[in-house]
Symmetry: C2
Subunit: 460 residues, 2 copies
């Protein structure tokens, strides 16, 4: 697919945009190419124009102009999408949000912050230094808060602190006709009407452009403990996770790496971990005594499931090395096969089915002609597979990914726990939502009757 | 307003309903009267018919018949609404859900349970005995899970465990045309499409009838500590709350009672509490040592804010007496003025404005001709006012309630933290949501174009 618009429409829109954006609108090929794809293997799509707004009002004017010229609108954040979210599959205007990165408010008493949607996770973290508060949602990439809200992102700490679903308190959204809507209030909870915040969280730009995000903050834990623990089998590791969560101990992160992933991390991050199914654990509490107690309880549960022993990461430096290694799994995995394309996918299943799902997936992977590793936020039942593909292996990997999703859905799970649908996973929604998919389509037609908002994603 | 339908339409619908419901459809005046109101001061409304379905399929058939005869549909749970939710303002069919009270599944490994929507909170609690798990959302009344989902209910434990927004994982909903939709999956999180679960949570029956609810369960805390603490001023109490939450200690309940409320509780529950602004606190942790530590930290913070000392409730019996007294505030308050009508309202503000809001509200109340008390889930910034009204005081109380809402909204808060909109608070939504209200109306028209689903509530 390419642009749906005539050159004269695009030129007329560009002229109107230039009136208030000046050089912050571009039709240069290099700029358009940069805005044609994320970090995935899905088909790219060049926008006709790229805009760099600096305020919600500018976004509103851009969208209003797009409406008049029937141009598609594709929001663009940090460009770290894994499911084709930012490709301009029908041309139109890519709205690059990264110049909207102001911290608008931090309220320590209310434990919330309001930022422009182009603010990245690390920018927000920096603004929170010395407040005693932090923002915990961490998808790995230094994504923008707008992009994270749009994909309902999560990451390693969701097991304790929730996903963007729980951590977004309000949004400013520009609708398809340019209208500006503010969702939520500054109150922590409300029963006053439909939950528009949650409607836009996870809508991937298909219902409007998110321009401002109010997020929930959490207390920085006074004490932190971290450990690495290898297990003889995947089942032992997962059953340990289930019991740790049932116990209600304060586990803040609980990550699973399969043996191949451990091998990759060892090589890339110069570690010497046992090449076994492994859990990385982190505990947060209000004191060293409390955190030690939680960690000891977890260690005891792991021992009952044949663990090969907790390796404590006592110092901050050790912990940072551990979590840097976890963050680096993407690069560690790439380094297994330099020059390969990486297909990264994620599913999420009820935790009672997780071990079965991972084992069946490993068995399937073992018949593939390419190497692959698995890593997951197992406290949520969520895991990722990274496939390292040479020439001509994408078809084989796509077929594997399809079986993976079908396996997860047949266990009551979802085709994506945190990456989103984009263009890549649209085909799976009918099986997952049944009649609900038609409800989603009704909502889409209501808010975007011309299908101009990030077309080709999620639903169509 | 009365029924919008002709007698012959109603009789024809009744005949069709009787074919599969037999004596589980009623047009008896006493039954209709019982289904005409909740526990509030809002105008009642008699339904033309009352149905008592036993399955989602029966609800679907009822709604399908209502569609053919253009009858309104009003879901009815435990009848504990405080904002006129269950009044059949345009007649039609009241669907009494209380025969749909089966526990469909409890999964300890996944820490979730699926119940029919007419199941009450206490029925679910009973089903969870001996699992080590519990369901924490507690609005006081023994409401049905369907009603709680529909109003986005919360209660004393929301500060730690969240509201129905966070604790509903999936729903079965019958739409206006009788179609059955299942929202959510059994995975703990998902980025696969629009969040239909959250769209229906809080929609108060105006978008469809909730027939099944999947809820999140939590670990029963291994150790619990509770305390009562009086303060010289409201500000001291609220500032203590803010610091306790910022510290991240495991406070599971933190309730505020104003001095009048304490007086009422003393009389009704035979307690001897200091008649001062008072906090009731409960801490949950994985061990006695951890819970003691959290509670001691909170005690220290309270002392810095001039507390009159923590009174520990060490035994289970003492704690139960304490929380029974909290649960009984509604009755304790009524007993202040036997025979009076009670107007109960709730607002929620950013916690940074909470002390100011409560003080201004007390000042306002002190000029009223009726007695009133305040109690609140202050960890969320949420508080309730109960006004005890004699003859001819409702107009005065309504004007007070209007000022209360305007005060809360002017502070960035919401017109209702947990009771819902119903018919009572519709007039406040324009000020609260601005352009967002029109988006809500668009959603309503899309899913219920004839405005038959609980008409007269939330939006129109």
């Amino acid at each position: 697919m390419g642009s749906l618009n005539t050159l004269s429409e695009i030129e007329a829109a560009e002229a109107e945009l230039r009136e208030f954006l000046a050089d912050r609108v571009s039709s240069a090929a290099a700029v358009r190419e940069h805005h044609s794809h994320g970090e995935d293997t899905h088909p790219p799509g060049m926008p006709d124009l790229v805009c760099f707004p600096r305020s919600t009002e500018e976004v509103s004017r851009i969208v209003e102009i797009s409406a008049r010229y029937h141009l598609a609108v594709v929001p663009f954040g940090a460009g770290t999408s894994l499911e084709g979210h930012v490709a301009a599959l029908r041309g139109g205007i890519s709205i690059d949000m990264r110049q909207m990165n102001r911290i608008l408010r931090v309220s320590p008493a209310d434990m919330d912050a309001m930022v422009e949607a182009g603010t990245t996770r690390k920018q927000l973290q920096k603004a929170l230094e010395n407040t005693g508060l932090t923002f915990f949602v961490d998808p790995g990439a230094d994504a923008t808060l707008g992009g994270m809200a749009a994909t309902r992102a999560s990451g390693t700490t969701a097991v304790r602190y929730g996903t963007m679903r729980e951590n977004v308190l309000g949004l400013t959204v520009v609708l398809a006709d340019g209208r500006i809507v503010h969702t939520g209030t500054r109150a922590r909870k409300s029963s006053a009407g439909y939950d528009l915040t949650r409607l836009f969280v996870g809508s991937e730009g298909t219902l409007g452009v998110i321009t401002e995000v109010t997020v929930r903050l959490h207390a920085q834990p006074e004490a932190v403990a971290a450990a690495i623990c290898a297990f003889p089998t995947i089942e032992d590791a997962v059953n340990t996770v289930i019991e740790i969560i049932q116990l209600g101990v304060g586990v803040a992160r609980i990550e699973f790496l399969d043996d191949r992933q451990v091998g990759a991390v060892n090589r890339y991050s110069h570690l010497d971990l046992a090449v076994k199914p492994t859990l990385l654990l982190e505990f947060h509490a209000i004191s060293q005594a409390s955190v030690d107690e939680a960690a000891r309880m977890a260690e005891g549960l792991a021992a009952e499931h044949n663990s090969l022993g907790f390796q404590w990461q006592s110092t901050l430096a050790e912990r940072e090395r551990l979590w840097q290694a976890r963050h680096d799994v993407y690069y560690a995995t790439r380094a297994l096969r330099p020059g390969s394309r990486v297909l990264t996918t994620d599913v999420c299943v009820p935790i009672s089915r997780l071990a079965e799902c991972i084992v069946a997936t490993r068995t399937d992977l073992d018949t593939m002609s390419f190497p692959a590793v698995m890593v997951g936020h197992v406290g949520d039942g969520n895991f990722h597979v990274q496939c390292l593909l040479g020439e001509d292996q994408l078809t084989e990997a796509d077929a594997f990914a399809e079986r993976l999703v079908e396996r997860a859905q047949s266990m009551g799970g979802t085709c994506t726990g945190e990456h989103g649908v984009g263009s890549g996973k649209k085909k799976y929604l009918a099986a997952e939502h049944g009649e609900g998919l038609e409800v989603m389509r009704m909502l889409k037609r209501t808010l975007d009757p011309e299908n101009r908002m990030n077309p080709g994603k999620v639903l169509d």
